[in-house]
């Protein structure tokens, strides 16, 4: 059954989430601008150490999770939600392995300007993915325990946040990783 889709213009929760996302966008904009401002200083290191191919694969998992999230919200499906969580977790695992490799090569937040900006930007995004996973997990749990009590708006609201986290990665991946190709 397809529920009546709540509209942002009249639903408090969705409008609240939309405004929150707008505010978060400014937060990320400031961090991205700092990265861009210092890009030249770290470009050589970025070109030498970042693994675009591997990260692209993990990024596809995150981009794909927006699709599964949309399916989950449309059908209020716990399975698609679980798939979203798995894809999000795959992305975080990939980011973790990238971190481990870089730290192993001696590149950390304190090593040089590139490390400072790279770990701050991707780390803050990673924390937002983690927060999204918590929200998804809560929705899965609520959905399993008392399906009828879960309001359709909850699916939409969690979905909006998840798409936002995904969209931020589009920007971060472009600026940080694809930027090394320029």
């Amino acid at each position: 059954m397809i529920a009546v889709r709540p509209a942002i213009g009249i639903n408090r929760t969705l409008l609240g989430v939309a405004i929150f996302i707008a505010s978060e966008s400014i937060f990320f904009l400031a961090i991205v601008l700092a990265y861009v401002a210092y890009r030249d200083a770290g470009l050589a290191t970025a070109k030498a150490t970042l693994d675009i191919g591997r990260t692209a694969v993990f990024s596809v998992a995150l981009f794909g999770s927006s699709g599964t999230m949309a399916l989950a919200a449309r059908a209020e499906s716990g399975r698609w939600l679980a798939a979203t969580i798995v894809l999000g977790a795959i992305f975080l695992t990939g980011q973790g392995s990238e971190y481990a490799r870089l730290l192993g090569e001696g590149i950390g937040p304190g090593s040089a300007l590139f490390g400072t900006t790279f770990f701050t930007l991707t780390g803050l995004h990673g924390l937002h993915v983690l927060a999204g996973l918590v929200a998804l997990g809560a929705l899965v749990a609520a959905n399993r325990r008392r399906r009828r009590a879960v309001h359709p708006v909850a699916w939409e609201a969690v979905g909006m946040y998840w798409h936002f986290v995904d969209a931020v990665w589009v920007v971060v991946f472009s600026v940080v990783y694809l930027g090394t190709l320029l």
Binding site: R12, L15, S23, F27, A30, P109, G110, A112, T116
Partner: protein
Amino acid sequence: MTAVPLWVRLPARERVGWLRTVDHKAIGVLYIGMGVAFFAIGGLEALLLRAQLATPEERLLDPETFNQAFTVHGVTMILLAVVPLLVGFANYLVPLMIGAPDVAFPRLNALSFWLSLVGGIVLYFSFLAGGAPDTGWFSYAPLSERAFAPGTGVDYYILGLAVNGAGTIIGAINLAVTILLMRCPGMAISRVPLFVWMTLVTSVLILGAYPALTAALVMLLVDRQLGGHFFDPAGGGQAVLWQHLFWFFGHPEVYIMVLPAMGMISEVIPVFSRKPIFGYGFVAGSSVAIAFLSFGVWAHHMFAVGLGDTENAIFSATSMLIAIPTGVKIFNWIATMVGGRLRMTTAMLFAVGFVAMFVIGGLSGVSLAVVPIDLAVTDSYYVVAHLHYVLFGGTMLGIFAGTYYWFPKMTGRLLNEVLGRWHFWMTFVGFNLTFLPQHWLGAVGMPRRVFTYAASTGWGPLNLLSTIGAAILAIAMVIFFVNLVRSLRSGEIAGDDPWDAFTLEWATTSPPPPENFASIPAVTGRRPLWDRKHPELRDAP
């Protein structure tokens, strides 16, 4: 009627009612209580500063303590006193003014308050943890970097402001959604009271400005705790990035603190002039213009950095532009009073005081937007005088006007008018005595943030005058607190509508019941209560 329920009606046996309440009125009162407490603390810090500066070569405070005192005074007054006071009034009044039973997200509202308070406590905990931050309220890098501020003070500053800011952001989301979606039937956005308009515009400013501060704080934390280099010139970073991010927050923050106070006097002046506000649309529209412009003026705090003549010229021009929508408002208020039957209550005195003092602060602001003048007086007491004319002469007088006006609604009792007049005139005299001489001190070169000065500078007499003014101001505040406490206990019973007011908050009981309204008058114009009381004189819809 013997026992008037004070502030809000909480269930009698609930001891932890204040800790678990989600009622917007109770949370509003909690915010106001927090603001009052921190206003007192920040005021005491200011008195310490003035005592130290009263005479040349004074040794009351050592330089380290002085640095901590002015830093914490600034942060306290701006983020822990004024903002919570304004958010508190907005929390209490907005749902009442738009005919709503509560805010959009009552539980989130409680979270906002507790985050704001915890942020303040974290900041003050620094005193116990080895020393408060001492790098100024704007905590410029690289001074705030670990190499130059090795203690934990700046770390508590970062955490305290980030947590406090999270609370403020969540509160702004809540108020914006409430105003956009919870207005009662007939309450079009073009009919809401101007205080509601100002709250909406302020919420937008908070949502745009605070995230930039949070981002800057995170970067500073990375620098200090993880050895990062964002603001560390030795590691390739740029200290000026901090200034850009901080003032991108910092200048809108000024309007976050001023617009709601303008909203307050836009309620007070019409009621005590017995006229509708002159040019409602212009007051609301000019605020939107101010908000828009306020995101494009931040570098006027950075003229002395050396960004370049082109940049300085652009930011000088945008800063001067803001004087236009601000000036529009001044004329709106004056035109509202012209030809009105003025009732000079204490609330009205403070509102008129706001207009007069804010004009002075606004004009000195325009003078500072002129780059050569700024280069001459930057970081001097001229700037201190300017910002206090805006934030005390403006915002605080507006908050006092609002307090005398809405205290009866919140408590069911009127504040004492005799004490109120003493409070006003002592404030007015004390304030001007404190800050007017600082214009001269700045013009003759006294820098801000110096813990003392030599007698040969000749700055002694004006500083002494300023300190005497501060003492008078302190007495005025004592009178105010006495008035608050006395009136709370035994003030005259106010009734629902003591001022013969216009707007919906006066259509319910004082204090209002938990659900706010038993019945809401039909809203067909901007003065729904007036329309109900005087159907023959109702405003054209």
